[in-house]
């Protein structure tokens, strides 16, 4: 009798524990068609999504429903963009510069070193991280000073064409595109972790980090891989994706920039 009670208790404990540990999955919600826009990078200001349209050299501003409000032309191959809530920071791949776009005004982000095809930028805690594609390195800092880390290679701390960055939890997450992996660094540029090395990615091009998950676009394999913060694969999103390039979460909605599909796919967690 005592044994039965013990077994029942153990069963209930395991059941509750397994329910608590089960990660909620992202499920498809809708497609926002962008017509001729080829989305490469995403950012959001006041619930309005901005899309970097690389092929058409412009930024596209969407309303809450995804309708195009207006476009801003004259950027040279804008890539993975970022914001501080007021301005948009645009890596211009073809011009080797970061342009600060604030409505009418455009300025160049002052740097102490030259870039060769900047492919991604992120801003958090008053600091920037920049993926410097052809120099195979990351720049991190602000007007008070910059550090640079990484060089061409396959070892930990080395890159092969980094395309995107994200600052979160006092760490810098890098989409190390053609090494087909994610690398994580502290703010001094020390390598801390590698994610996804064994998941057969082919061009890890866009990265986003939430409070509990790391998202990476696996461009050539038409999928997005979702990891927990320890680097364990939690979910693979692939249905309807054609060459995804970036990810963004806004107001609990996950947006995926679907480059070849010329649309944004949205997902909810349940």
């Amino acid at each position: 009798m005592e044994l039965n009670k013990y077994l029942l208790g153990l069963f209930l404990f395991l059941l509750v524990a397994s329910c608590q540990n089960k990660t909620k999955e992202w499920t498809y919600q809708k497609t926002i068609n962008l017509e001729s826009t080829t989305p490469i990078g995403l950012t959001v200001i006041d619930n309005h999504i901005w899309v970097a349209d690389g092929d058409n050299n412009q930024l596209v501003h969407l309303d809450d429903s995804g309708k195009v409000l207006f476009t801003e032309e004259g950027f040279e191959r804008p890539m993975h963009i970022a914001t501080d809530g007021k301005s948009i920071y645009v890596p211009e791949y073809g011009k080797d510069q970061i342009t600060i776009f604030s409505g009418e005004e455009r300025k160049i982000l002052p740097l102490t070193d030259s870039l060769d095809a900047p492919a991604g930028i992120h801003y958090a805690n008053e600091q920037f991280a920049i993926a410097d594609f052809y120099n195979h390195r990351i720049l991190f800092g602000n007007e008070r000073g910059w550090i640079s880390f990484g060089k061409e290679g396959k070892a930990d701390g080395e890159f092969y064409y980094p395309t995107d960055v994200h600052i979160a939890n006092n760490k810098i997450y890098v989409a190390d595109a053609y090494n087909n992996r994610i690398q994580v660094f502290d703010t001094e540029g020390n390598h801390k972790m590698t994610i996804g090395e064994k998941d057969n990615m082919n061009a890890a091009t866009g990265i986003y980090v939430s409070s509990s998950q790391v998202f990476i676009t696996d461009f050539e394999n038409d999928r997005v891989l979702v990891y927990d913060m320890e680097g364990v694969l939690a979910q693979e999103i692939s249905e309807g994706l054609e060459k995804p390039t970036d990810i963004l979460i806004n107001d609990d909605v996950l947006y995926i920039a679907n480059y070849k599909g010329r649309n944004l796919k949205t997902y909810l967690q349940n």
Partner: protein
């Protein structure tokens, strides 16, 4: 009579001006390159960036879907087919066809290998394994195979990694084709690429080596 001469002069001038605007700037060559495997925007924009090293380049247009890459260049600089193809190679791509329309209207085109069959010819069909990853690999593998005299057909399948070959066994052999493909950086069932050549392949082409 005087009026007639004036009318003729004005007509000739008008025709000259309209001809120039119709055919673009008359002092510029038009270059058209068919590049295979332009699937990734990062690499495609990289191709465009590499060509910006040629000062004076203008009217750059890339169609990623079709692989068509066009631009214009000052005629007096005399860009050659070899310069264009070498720059495409430097960006990690393969120029399938290259055409230069000179400002004076003459056309130069890259030569395509056309195998000529003889009475001795025996066509053999064979499928061989060739390692690779992407559209850029496909372009490189097929172009290498087709450049060998005796090869009639070469089609590589990205999914199953098999190269469908048709060749004239009196002119070439599976060994020769295999060796050439390995020299271009791709392991085959019969030949292995040198490490240095493999390492020079673009990132997306660095397939898992054949053991």
């Amino acid at each position: 009579m005087k009026n007639l001469i004036i009318i003729i002069i004005i007509s000739v001038l008008a025709f000259t001006i309209s001809s120039n605007s119709l055919y673009g700037q008359s002092d510029r060559d038009q270059i058209e390159v068919q590049v295979d495997g332009l699937g990734c925007p990062f690499c495609a924009y990289g191709l465009e960036k590499k060509f910006k090293e040629f000062k004076g380049i203008k009217d750059v247009k890339i169609e990623m879907e079709t692989g068509q890459f066009n631009f214009s260049y000052p005629s007096e600089k005399g860009m050659t087919l070899e310069q264009v193809e070498s720059q495409v190679d430097k960006a990690g791509y393969t120029a399938v066809t290259t055409k230069i329309i000179r400002a004076d209207g003459t056309i130069e085109e890259s030569k395509q290998n056309i195998t000529e069959l003889t009475d001795e010819s025996t066509i053999v069909s064979k499928d061989i394994f060739v390692a690779g990853n992407c559209g850029m690999c496909k372009a490189r593998i097929e172009k290498t195979a087709k450049s060998i005299e005796g090869v009639v057909k070469a089609e590589w399948d990205k999914d199953n990694k098999m190269l469908k070959l048709e060749y004239d066994s009196s002119q070439t052999s599976i060994g020769e084709v295999s060796e050439s493909i390995a020299k271009a950086g791709h392991d085959t069932k019969y030949s292995k690429a040198e490490d240095g050549v493999y390492n020079d392949l673009p990132g997306c082409c660095q397939y898992e080596r054949v053991q």
